[in-house]
Amino acid sequence: MTQRIVIDPITRIEGHLRIEAQLDSNNVITEAYSSGTMVRGIERILLGRDPRDAWAFTQRACGVCTTVHAFASIRAVEDALSIRIPPAANLLRNLMIAQQYVHDHVMHFYHLHALDWVDVTGVLAADPQAVASLQQSLSPWPNASAGYFADVQKKVKAIVDSGQLSIFANAYWGHPAYILPPEVNLLAVAHFLEALDWQKDVTKIHTILGGKNPHPNFVVGGMPISIDLNGDLTLNAERLSIIAASIEKMITFVEQVYVPDLLAVGGLYLKDDAYFSTHALLGEGLKNFLTWGEFPGEDPLDTKGLLIPRGVILNRDLANVQEPDPRDVEKMKEYIARSWYQYGDGEAAGLHPWQGETALNYTGPQPPYDLLNVDGKYSWLKAPRWAEQPMEVGPLARVLALYASGHAETQELAAQTIARLNQVSGRSLPFPDVLFTTLGRTAARCLETVVIAHAMRSMYQSLLEMIKAGNTATFNGERWEPITWPGHAEGFGFTEAPRGALGHWIVIDGGKIANYQMVVPTTWNASPRDESGNPGAYEMALVGTKLADPQKPLEILRVIHSFDPCMACAIHLVDARGGDLGEVGVGLNVCVQ
């Protein structure tokens, strides 16, 4: 007998991401199905609108990582209309994008992913003096006294005693798959609480450069802030110094807290024989990776100048990284055979986003339902494919692209990371195979955070030099007026969002949006099968994962969380009964197949 387990948050209202996993009699996942249970629809809202306004709509695709859809949108319009933004505007954008990465990755680790590895209830047994010694051995981070950790322990104990432990976003405490010693658990929980203060401070860069946060302001043709060191409402000397201080604050936390914690937690899991033999070399699956690239250099239009390269890696072949052309109508396609849409050209058609269609065609079961019909259409996400292949996007793809391109700091950090993990785990980890795993993805996120945080320093220096040279223009208005535009134009805008490659494709006719398609990172990673039956990244990554307890599928959460899913924003309904409304409902369904 086999069984299927379902993970579907917030089932009572309208969900986000749903995973159905088929288990064999040993509780090993044989097939997994990833479904987006909410339609986005912004593409349809944009039709007929002024392309200069599109960013304000697309930014609302998510209420949390706000900026990324604005950047992709203004770049798409600028690409379509051949608008070259001033170099200072490019630097300001790079700083905002980099800030988003560092902030997002740290918060993803501490606030979401760490709790897949760290048992909060394990904190209570920790010896604060031993935690202090551990912290002091890891880094010069100042919060390292026994008294400090005893205080954190006391706070956690108060929560446990009050029965409100569920404020921590997990409910699998005491699960056998948690293996860390109590001291490491306490260390990580202390840093989780510290990260909440840290994140509040570092978002100031977005507030300064975008006027507000979340949902900063943007403008096609540059940046809406002007530079004048002596101005009141401009990017002035005082605000520059806040930015500089934020950058240093980010780097310190990343170097002294995030990196050592990740290496300690990752190393201890790799040391654990049960984890190592059952999970350590699983969790990737597709073997294909795509990046659109990020951080344009002096010439914002030159893809060769991107800090993170634009690349496609097939079958893990790091020696032959190709640059994908997003304009290639043969290679860049989205399929809908297993998605709740219809195409004019039929179910088997694949469409380049410039020809993309957003015609809804829900054929799924009426909620509430137990199981999706995974043999038919089962997701509101389309299936994007590059050269007919599903792709993984995100930190692992970017680190591989950086590594393969010979980026010196990345290669150095990768070597240091492996050396440290070998040291902690007492193993000789196979490189690069150990990267193509759940922990490899989690480590890649940390590694790129270091690269990007350091890059912010040089971005800031370049900005200062530009200002000194009087090169302070932040807006190019030559093509602002629609009368200067061609009658028909097509554009591609990109960004590497924290969770992966994001592309917007726009078609402008007569000054209005004639077509708009967003292919977002989670559409790549959470993609359903395509018309040929090829699974998406989550679906492949889960295959082979063994669950210790199918009713508490912690191992699935580890794999999925390592991708850092971004589905639409949460619903905020308060449940006064403290019930399961906001929890992942793990329905256990036994299927006879």
Binding site: G63, M107, K155, I159, L193, C569, A576, E583
Partner: protein, 167 residues
């Protein structure tokens, strides 16, 4: 009363309306805080009226910096639609539950995080309405719409008490 605008008393009270305006009654907290702001921006200068929308962790600083926090929201407590509930302080349940995405942070989780950090506002009150309709829609259902004035009156009564204590 003129001391209200001094830095010490300013922004000591925060009225936080949360919810999703695109989900009919789920947005009742936002509808309510907007109405209160419209009425009282002038005569309650020591009070912040904050439209929290569907923000998650971004709300943490606002929660932690408030001395007195009045939350307006849709609340499911299994009663007939339009019924009102008041929860004070510790009676407000805090939980997060399991998430698949970092972007599923609820207000209750934000309150929970403030609590474990020892930074919950000294006074806290939640006024909620049992929703009737959570489907897509940008106006309140008739039954919740009819209950909204009562929610506003309750909120005003709380604010009067709190502000009375302040001055």
């Amino acid at each position: 009363m003129c001391a209200c605008s001094s830095p010490e008393t300013k922004k000591r009270i925060t009225v936080l309306g949360v919810g999703n305006l695109l989900r009919t009654d789920e947005g009742v907290g936002v509808h309510a805080v907007r109405a209160l702001a419209e009425r009282h921006r002038e005569d309650m200068p020591d009070t912040d009226f904050l439209d929290g929308g569907t923000l998650g962790l971004n709300l943490l600083p606002y929660v932690e910096e408030a001395n007195s926090l009045l939350i307006l929201d849709a609340v499911d407590f299994g009663s007939p639609p339009g019924t009102m509930i008041d929860l004070a302080g510790d009676a407000i349940p805090l939980f997060a539950g399991i998430k698949l995405s970092e972007h599923q942070v609820t207000l209750q989780e934000v309150l929970g995080l403030a609590r474990i950090r020892g930074r919950l506002p000294g006074r806290m009150m939640l006024i909620g309405i049992q929703p009737a309709d959570l489907s897509t829609g940008d106006t309140l259902s008739p039954v919740v719409s009819a209950a909204l004035p009562e929610m506003l009156e309750k909120a005003e009564a709380v604010l009067r008490t709190w502000r009375g204590v302040l001055t």
